[in-house]
Structures are given as C-alpha cells and as structure tokens.
Assembly symmetry: C2
Homo-oligomer: 220 residues x 2
C-alpha cells in the first residue's frame, strides 16, 4: 500500500488531465487562445504533442474542460455574497459569470466555443434557475431567463475582451468610428460618440443587466 488503490503497473505517468489542464490555462493566460496549440502545450509539459491525446480525445475536449474549470470560482463567489432578494442574487450571479470569463485571457471566446456541461457550469445554471423559481417565476420563465442572462453576459464579455486585445490589424475601432462619424453621415452615432467610444465596460454591462432585471420585475 504505497499510495493509491489501483496497482499502478508500469511507469507512473508523467502526464495527467489535471496537470495538463493547469498548464493549458497558464499558457492561455500568458499567450492567448490563438497561441494555445497542442504542440506548444506539449512543449510546456515537456512531452510530445501525440501524448496529449491519451488524456483528451481532441483539442475541443481540452477546451471544454478548460471552460468548465473557469466556472469553478463562480459558485463560491456567489455564496459569499450577501445580496438580498432575487434581483440582487441574479445580479451577483451574472457579475460572477462575467468576472470568471474576464479572469482568463480570451475566457469568453473559450467559453462561447465550447459546451461545458460539468458540475460547475450546471451548478451555476441550477442556482440561477432556483433563484427565479423561488421568487415566483414559472419554470419556463426561469429557464428562459437563464439563457438570456448567459447569452447577454457571454456576448458582452466577448466584445469586452476583443476590445482589450491589441487588435494587431491596425487602427482600433474607436478611431475608425470617429473618422466615419466625422464625415457627418451618422448623426445619431455622432451624438452618442462619447459613450460609444467609452471603455467603461462595467457600466455598460450593468446597464444591460439592469434592463433585464427591470424587464423581469415587470413580469412578476
């Protein structure tokens, strides 16, 4: 009885899902999604690329596991908060989801590109639906709200992280927008220019979240 229950015949593995996952998330944080290749990940693990396929059937599988792992902190952050009624709890949940995506470089792109169905992801979903059912919303309204809040949050954070990246293509969006608007063609965009080129994504997220919550309140 040296350490584990299974006999462990042959050499002990140098690799496992856990170490691979941690290294992949580190590499993501350092280099971004486009630089996260199976070959570079293997190199960081001091192994050849082919070896990764013993633990993850495809790269997509690995990305799904990464997305699920990103959701790990959300439940705790939510439980810790003291947030009153259903609307406060819903806000807390949505903010924690955005924060979890923002906590990893390209987090929203990874999450949007996969379909995580692990315990963390399902736990968050269950909690959110539970908050709404507890507040008297129907099962159908609660389920639809889950999707609406998730889709809005992911859509928002996708934009937010895209705006944060260097945008190596050249001119950034605000600059292009300012230029196009200056020509006088888009009067309404011109009026909202200061907000449109603002980088206060938190205020923007809170605005959208506020609309959803008020819309829900009107339905009770």
């Amino acid at each position: 009885m040296s350490e584990t229950s299974t006999p462990a015949r042959g050499r002990p593995p140098r690799l496992d899902r856990e170490r691979t996952l941690r290294t992949a998330l580190d590499l993501l944080r350092q280099s971004g999604l486009d630089a996260l290749t199976m070959r570079r990940l293997a190199e960081a693990l001091d192994v050849k690329a082919g070896a990764l396929y013993r633990y993850f059937a495809t790269k997509q599988d690995l990305l799904t596991a990464m997305a699920e792992r990103m959701m790990a902190g959300v439940a705790d952050a939510t439980a810790a908060a003291d947030d009153g009624d259903w609307s406060g709890q819903l806000r807390t949940l949505a903010r924690a989801l955005r924060a979890a995506l923002l906590a990893h470089r390209d987090g929203a792109r990874v999450f949007a590109g996969t379909h995580a169905t692990g315990p963390h992801t399902l736990g968050i979903a269950d909690t959110l639906v539970g908050v709404l059912r507890g507040a008297g919303f129907s099962d159908e309204e609660a389920a639809r709200t889950l999707f609406t809040v998730a889709n809005f949050t992911v859509g928002h954070t996708l934009e937010e992280q895209a705006a944060l990246e260097p945008a190596d293509g050249g001119a950034d969006v605000p600059a292009l927008l300012t230029e196009a608007v200056a020509a006088g063609t888009y009067p309404h965009l011109q009026a909202g220019l200061s907000t449109l080129s603002s980088t206060d994504f938190t205020a923007l997220f809170e605005f959208g979240l506020g609309l959803l919550v008020d819309g829900l309140r009107a339905r009770r």
Copy 2:
C-alpha cells in the same frame, strides 16, 4: 472608350473583391466557417491562394468584409416594416439583425469574430440609436442600448447556430443535460428541463428581447 474610365493596361484581372466576396459567402453557406480556407476559396475561384492577397491583406480582412456584407439586407428589411412606436422599431431592428446572422451558416461566428465598420453596419447602429433618441432617451442611454441589444442578439445567435450544427463530437447537449439532471443533482434544472431542451429559439429570443424592451420602458 471601351468600358471603364481607367486605362486598364495589361490583362484584365480574373479576380476582384466582389467576386471573391460572393464566392467566399457561397463557400461559407455550403461548407461552414471551419472549411473556409484561403486555399479552398482560391480553388473555387480557379486561382492559387497567393493571388487572394492582392485583394485582401489577410484572411481576417476577408472575414470582416463578409460580416459587413451580411448586414446589407438589414436596413431594407427594417425600412419595409410598419412597426409603430420606438419599441416596435427596436424589435424590428433586433429581429432583422438576428435574421441576417441566421441567413448565413456560422453567420454569428463570423460577425462576432470581426469588427465590421462599413456603411451597412454603421447604418444599422445609427438607425437604432436614432429610434431611441427620437423616443426621448438620452444620448448615453441610446448608445448603451445599442451595445446591449447587439451583444444579446449576437450572443443568442451564436448559441442558436452552435445548437444547429451537427456537433460532431458525439452526444448533443440536451442528451447530456437530461442524463446529468436525471441523477437528481440539479432540481431546478430538472423543473425547467422541457424549456431547457426546447429548440424554439425564436421564442427564446423574443423573451430576451421583451425583457430588454420592458426594461427600457421602465426607464422612460
């Protein structure tokens, strides 16, 4: 004076942005974004891949032009509609945006992965902001609503089109969800299961859009 104003010295080009763009959108419709490679596009145009770079600096450039082209029909579809007050016009705009993304395979993925700032895209944005300003919302509220509606719509359609794709990885999401929920671990998801595994994305979109509109109404 044979045909155009410019002298056209040398052979007439076999390629141009317009034909390349049309062929690229055709290829997208037939094969999806993952199969849209510069090499395959070149083959469809009966040319070698290197030739494409005379018209588009990078693949990202081509994708941005495709995203802009997808927005072409939105303004017309919006103008044709007879939709009453600001809330009806806002709904029409959001529905037309979703329809434009759905009209092309992987449309939302293409749109989300680029930052189109062409006249169609800016025209839609200007119209939406104009509707809200005309209804008495502040410039800031109008601009923030633009982002909220766009982010929600793109986030929703990303999910919708992902659910429509074959999902070659194996079991589909509803199946996985049903299985996980059956274990009894997620009581609230279990209650909403019929809605959660429903494929009525139009109803889902309308629910979210309705929340946003009602939220806006509460702000006037």
